[in-house]
Amino acid sequence: MIDVIAVGYDHSADAAVAARFALRLAGATGARVVFLHAAGLRERFEHAEHEAGPPAALVGLIAESGLPAARVDWRVEDGDACTVLQRAALDPVNADVVVVGTRGQGAHAGLLLGSTSLEMAEHSSVPLIIVPAPRDDG
């Protein structure tokens, strides 16, 4: 039984792919979706103003999915992505499953060791879904 799906969202293209998948999964299972954004050090310095609600790109994805607004939450948590997503299994999110993209903001081909998805694969206490980005064969 899946009641709550937590999704890591860092504004990257890979996060959008994960968001689409999670919204489809929620549509199929009746689950709620909680989007989690980990606010890092630099973000505080730059006074990003997105805490009141999801960014426009995500609002578009949610609308596209047809999922009722009451079944979608947006939370901004202080911390690094892996810590924030690990906590999703606990109160108040109580996620049954965590969904992430393969790579997030700032990631690049070389430093695979640094990816949130691999960290989560090692440490997550609930089932983890890593959604691959579409292949770019061009």
């Binding site: 980990a38 890092g40 050090l41 505080r44 690094d80 810590t83 700032g106 690049h108 060791l113 640094g114």
Partner: protein, 345 residues
């Protein structure tokens, strides 16, 4: 008293326009040292880069290799917070080497206080990952080097952010006691009082998170009431300080309310943990308001070497006393009930 410091590093090419972790921070720290007018009591050391053997005591060889290649290829963003340039890996190796050199000189002299004025900072850097502006964990590299020589090392981390990297590296190391005061909630999200160390080192990690607005009296209480008895039992041979100055009330990326005078008090308390002269070294970590860094460095080091008094008095009256008591209770519960502790990383 003598202040033993590294010679200033040429850090100008580890920079990213608009990024808060910038060369001006180090210039501000050095200005704080200059404000003490130490004359011949300031000993400046030439710095050699840390060796691969010294770095791999705490960092995975594969990570070092990847970071080196990343920089060699021109660098870029490692995560949403952390950048590296072509020169960053070489500078980080020098920063780590500065700590090793300062501690070696203190050991040779048997007196004085060390100041490792370097960037990039280190305490968020994990065994296999850069994080939170940090590439190599400077204080951990020195602590591990001392442990390899048979020493017991206390690391006190008063940066406003929890030093998750240092905690991770020594989670199971009985010869290192890691003590952190930090704002919570705040990046990186770790540092709960129930994080007390792994099976091989239960009780060797000590976290006291405090709420936004906390003043200096709260951190003093954390060190006096929670940390001091544990430090006494541990009996360190060396004391290393992860000295961020971002708990200052003027800092733009955190919300504590300390003054420069509070850092003088914290430094005095921590100096009391050292077993003898010449066994205390202070490492620059965070701090992003330049005037606050300058005044706080001068205050903290001034207190340690009996130089100029702080330009700002200590603070009190902010929230957090209950958090200190709560941290002590949570810690005791975690230690007394194996399996109930929180584990990070």
């Amino acid at each position: 008293m003598t202040l033993v410091a590294n010679r200033p590093l040429d850090d100008r090419r580890h920079a990213d326009p608009g990024h808060p972790e910038r060369p001006d921070r180090l210039a501000a720290a050095w200005a704080g040292v200059a404000d003490l007018h130490l004359g011949e009591d300031l000993v400046s050391l030439d710095v050699a880069p840390a060796t691969r053997a010294q770095l791999t005591r705490v960092h995975d060889a594969a990570y070092l290799e990847e970071l080196g290649v990343f920089c060699y290829e021109g660098g870029g963003n490692l995560d949403q917070d952390t950048y590296a340039t072509y020169d960053s890996f070489a500078l980080a190796q020098l920063a780590a080497g500065a700590g090793l050199g300062v501690v070696e000189e203190l050991a040779r002299r048997g007196e004085g206080v060390g100041f490792v004025a370097v960037r990039p900072p280190g305490h968020h850097a994990l065994r296999d990952r850069a994080m939170g502006f940090c590439l190599l964990n400077n204080v951990a590299i020195v602590a591990a080097d001392l442990v390899a020589r048979g020493a017991r090392v206390l690391v006190v981390d008063w940066d406003v952010h929890h030093g998750n990297g240092t905690q991770e590296m020594f989670w199971n190391e009985p010869d290192v006691l890691y003590v952190s005061t930090h704002q919570s909630p705040l990046f990186p999200g770790s540092g709960h009082p129930r994080e007390v160390g792994g099976p091989g080192a239960r009780g060797r990690t000590l976290n006291v998170p405090v709420p936004p607005g906390a003043t200096g009296d709260v951190l003093r209480a954390a060190l006096d009431e929670v940390a001091a008895p544990v430090v006494d039992d541990f009996a360190p041979d060396w004391v290393l300080v992860s000295a961020g100055f971002d708990a200052h009330r003027a800092d733009p990326i955190a919300d504590l309310a300390l003054s420069a005078g509070d850092f003088a008090d914290l430094a005095t308390t921590v100096a009391g943990f050292a077993p003898s002269p010449g066994r205390l070294a202070v490492f620059l970590e965070g701090g992003y308001d330049l005037d606050a860094v300058r005044a706080s460095v001068a205050a903290a080091l001034g207190a340690l070497v009996d130089a100029a008094p702080a330009t700002e008095g200590p603070t009190s009256g902010g929230p957090g006393s209950a958090h200190v008591a709560h941290a002590l209770a949570e810690r005791r519960a975690a230690i007394e009930s194996p399996g109930s502790e929180e584990v990070r990383w």
